[in-house]
Amino acid sequence: MELIPILSLIILVATISTFILSIGAYILYKMREKKGKAVEQPKPEAIPAELVTPQVAPEAGRTTNIGLRSTYGQSLYSTRGDSTSPMFATDAGQTRPEMRPTVLGLSMDEESRMPVSGAAPGRTTINAEKYETRGRFSRYTSAGYSNVEETKKKKEDEEPLRWR
């Protein structure tokens, strides 16, 4: 059969070409990659950010099915840890980044657009309270978020995060 020699030639050429193409692409990639040492950027523990969120009217948020905080159906199913002990013990003394973002107030753009008459402070206070009453540190439990100030504050919480 002459088909096999023809096929073998095609496959051989294709395989060698694939090798050459891959090595060539790799060399090209290394040439285009930025040279020099990468500067390791500092990793602050907290960073400022801006939150853009729709203003939800209290009536609309609670009566219509906006989809906020609705946990219907959740209570029908238990989560791990509710009634049984966890399969593997969590690492004692270790902390997790579990802060809720802290709201400082309106962003610079909003503040500059606000009239001087003072509508902003009230609204800022309301929004700040909405988040700040939850506390800067919140612990996530099966019952929802609970303020760490209400629970026993551990010394290890203030130490840098560690892995075993």
Binding site: S22, A46, E50
Partner: protein, 462 residues
């Protein structure tokens, strides 16, 4: 409805990985490999005079033995994956899970995705799910992503309910930090993390959330598909996602031990994320790292084939190899980070199994594929045995063809992708494996690498 902008402070902490002394590791690797090489040389020096074969014959004999082992492993791997995947599909088809609709936050991290963000959000608003919100996290984009995102903020009419869309603008810190920011802001018990350039199918949340009725399930991996098809390279990637990635994932799903929750679609229980310490930024495969952390804490991870994310695959060869290079190094970094499970199965046997299979797929498998191809090229060029390569290709093509038919049928995909399986391994997989080999060498040499960015052209059709 007006939007309001608020200044917030985000927690940027993450769990620190164990300190590594790189210099000590390199010295230790050099000493161990040096000792092993000396032992091997001694064995060869002592036993070589006892053999009846000349050196070249010994080389050919050893190569043939290695090749037979590779073929055996190839068959075992294929049949294991296909059978486990088949069992999973069968179980999936006959079992009935009740629908479960708790409140879910969908986190969409974006960096310079101004061209595709709107399409992503529009697909999210079409989800067939009654109880969710969308949180866009702009990771310091330099294009018009912030403007596009801000225009999308508000209360939108979804398929079954109103959906709140919020935006967080933060300084650039990487995908893992962006996801952590969104998870922090979310008050839901469940979060769906996706890529900013992906679109989700309407059934994604509804089908994915069913698995969380099991309290042991910590996360659900979705099904990633290539959206921009039509060219050979893209169709090959589409086939790879179906046959190479999703088949493996459904096989792992049968054991509830999916080893990588894909970045474009992953649904998490917040408690599992909390146990795992959320995303970390010390590897280039934060999805693999997080999955291993969740498994290490004893949570189960399911796979849901109907939770589909459509993503834009790299259109050029260069972009593709760059992506695979990053994936390989990221996965190796994740394996290294969890290497204590490799050596000590007593800590968590399931995790040991998962890590060994990942190490096999990332290290041994590409090396064996490259070796097999080099062997056939060598015997063809040096010994004139050109027909061997045809039989090799024929055997592999039959195997891939069979797997492609099964996977395309199981996922109800396009049948036109099946013929690509004939060149899949000999061309596409070989190329990827060579890139993986280079990436592996660089990772073990400890060479630095950067993230890079995939060029977006915005091809969303859904």
């Amino acid at each position: 409805m007006k939007n309001e902008k608020l200044k917030i402070i985000l927690d940027n902490r993450e769990i620190e990985a164990p300190h590594r002394d790189f210099k000590k590791e390199k010295i230790r690797s050099a000493i161990i490999s040096g000792i092993l090489s000396l032992i091997l040389i001694l064995i060869i020096a002592i036993t070589l005079p006892m053999t009846v074969l000349p050196l070249s014959g010994l080389f050919v004999y050893a190569s043939i033995v290695a090749l037979v082992l590779f073929l055996f492993l190839l068959l075992a791997r294929y049949f294991t994956l296909i059978w486990l995947s088949y069992f999973y599909m069968t179980k999936y088809t006959v079992s009935e899970k009740p629908f479960y609709t708790p409140f879910v936050s969908i986190i969409v991290p974006v960096y310079n995705e101004g061209k595709v963000l709107r399409n992503s959000i529009e697909s999210l608003l079409k989800l067939d799910y009654p109880n969710y919100e969308i949180i866009i996290v702009n990771d310091g984009s330099t294009d018009n992503t912030a403007e596009v995102g801000e225009a999308l903020v508000g209360l939108h009419k979804g398929r079954n309910s109103w959906v709140k869309v919020s935006l967080i603008n933060k300084p650039n810190g990487g995908k893992s930090k962006a996801l952590n920011a969104g998870i922090q802001y979310s008050e839901a018990e469940f979060v769906l993390c996706m890529d900013g350039d992906s679109t989700l199918s309407a059934q994604t949340l509804k089908m994915g959330m069913r698995h969380f009725t099991d309290p042991e399930v910590g996360a659900v991996a979705g099904n990633v598909k290539v959206e921009n098809r039509g060219k050979p390279l893209l169709d090959l990637q589409a086939l790879e996602y179906i046959e190479g990635l999703n088949m493996a994932r459904s096989a792992q799903g049968f054991l509830k031990m999916v080893n990588i929750i894909p970045g474009p679609i992953g649904i998490f229980r917040k408690r599992a994320l909390h146990d795992a310490g959320y995303y970390s930024s010390d590897t280039f495969a934060e999805d693999a790292d997080l999955t291993l952390k969740i498994l290490a804490k004893g949570w189960k991870i399911e796979y849901e084939p109907e939770a589909q994310a459509w993503t834009e695959a790299p259109a050029s060869l260069f972009q593709l190899l760059k992506q695979r290079y990053r994936w390989t190094r990221g996965i190796l970094q994740a394996i290294r980070k969890h290497k204590r499970f490799l050596y000590n199965p007593i800590i968590n046997f399931n995790n040991t199994l998962v890590l060994w299979s990942m190490a096999f797929e990332a290290l041994l498998w590409p090396a064996m594929n490259i070796f097999a191809n080099l062997f056939f090229i060598t015997v063809a060029l040096l010994y004139g045995m050109t027909s061997l390569i045809v039989f090799w290709w024929f055997g592999i093509a039959i195997l891939d063809f069979m797997a492609a038919i099964f996977c395309v049928a199981a996922e109800k995909e396009e049948a036109r992708l099946i013929p690509y399986s004939l060149i899949y391994r000999i061309f596409f997989v070989l190329m990827i494996d060579i890139t993986k080999g280079m990436a592996t060498v660089e990772e073990f040499l400890g060479l630095a690498m950067s993230w890079g960015k995939l060029e977006r052209i915005g091809v969303s059709k859904k």
